[in-house]
């Protein structure tokens, strides 16, 4: 009986995971191309995607590798950029079925991406971890093989195509931040403020010597901190953003 429910949930997650996997393939294709053009091997690029399963963090991490940044800088950058996952994990830790074997929480954590969190948080009632496993079973290969394909194509990618695709990831970031910024004034201020601060770092002598990873950390801490202090969110507001 329980096995049957788990199987149903797995299939349901798999079904919801297919569009996620297709989107992932395109994004991680870009990552694979950028990674090999930055000097990584096809295998290294693919390994990063398989073990990290996160877009913004991987792109920032790649920048640090190419710039030969320190491991501390790498750790801090990943911490800051991926901090949002801890909020999602907090949220799902409330929603998961009670009395699960402990290993389920370790396994669900690996697949905690923005998109998988999105579909699993919208499931009615308690969350069966097999739903997440179903979504992960297509999303993880989509992400990993996308990078593999991009890394292979990157070696033979003509320059004009590489130049056009270099803005793809930024387009996706804008697609994530602009719609909520339309609806919430505070988010709008955060977006504009963060762009202004990072521009200041890029254009000011001395400040423009700070590496890109630390610029992201400093900007994020300062702008999100100020916003949290001056515009604390109301309860329930995060759901509709």
């Amino acid at each position: 009986m329980e096995q049957k429910i788990n199987k149903q949930q797995f299939m349901r997650g798999l079904h919801d995971g297919v569009p996620i996997a297709l989107g992932y393939f395109a994004v991680s294709f870009t990552f694979g191309m950028m990674a090999v053009s930055g000097g990584l091997s096809v295998w290294q690029a693919t390994l990063i995607s398989l073990t990290n399963l996160t877009s913004a963090g991987q792109f920032a991490g790649l920048d640090i590798m190419i710039a030969c940044g320190s491991l501390w800088e790498m750790a801090l950058t990943q911490l800051i950029i991926n901090l949002r996952y801890s909020l999602m994990s907090f949220s799902l830790s409330q929603k998961l079925e009670r009395n699960l074997a402990p290993w389920h929480r370790f396994a669900v954590a690996f697949g905690m991406t923005d998109e998988i969190f999105g579909v699993s948080a919208s499931q009615p009632g308690r969350l069966n971890p097999f739903y997440n496993y179903g979504a992960m079973s297509v999303a993880v290969p989509g992400w990993t093989f996308g990078t593999l394909a991009g890394a292979i194509a990157g070696n033979i990618m003509p320059g004009f195509l590489a130049s056009a695709l270099s803005v793809a990831i930024y387009g996706m970031f804008l697609a994530v931040i602009i719609p909520p910024a339309k609806k919430h004034r505070a988010v709008q201020k955060v977006v504009v403020g963060a762009m202004a601060v990072s521009t200041l770092f890029a254009c000011t002598p001395v400040l423009n010597k700070v590496s890109s990873g630390f610029v992201i950390i400093i900007t994020t801490l300062a702008v999100a901190g100020m916003a949290a202090y001056f515009c604390p969110i109301e309860d329930g507001e995060e759901e509709d953003a």
Binding site: L71, A164, Y170, V176, T220
Partner: protein, 106 residues
């Protein structure tokens, strides 16, 4: 340099997994601090915005004009709430077109 790449990957993957895993495994109580909740809520927006601008301007190899075109196209598509993939394709398409035009007139 090669062993170093694997150290980077280990640190990246380790930190990212811990961030995802620790709250799920350790905490079952809800966060109540309004400041912390708000901070975590704003983090992705601040971080993605800082990563996007001004970096998008200098990403294309031909320089800022193509970058600005990509930014404008992405902003318009994102404002109309198109999907991630669509917005990305609009940005890429704008860069591609502007670079071809610049080749012809330049």
């Amino acid at each position: 340099m090669n062993w170093n790449v694997y150290m980077y990957i280990l640190v990246m993957a380790g930190v990212t997994y811990l961030i995802r895993m620790l709250p799920l495994v350790l905490f079952k109580k809800e966060i109540t601090s309004p400041f912390l909740k708000s901070f975590l809520y704003y983090v992705p927006y601040a971080c993605l915005a800082a990563m996007t601008f001004p970096a998008i301007l200098t990403a294309p190899s031909s320089g800022m004009i193509a970058g600005a075109a990509g930014l404008a196209a992405a902003l318009i598509a994102a404002y109309r709430e198109k999907s991630l993939l669509t917005v990305a394709l609009f940005a890429c398409g704008a860069v591609f077109v502007v670079e071809r035009v610049m080749e012809i007139i330049g």
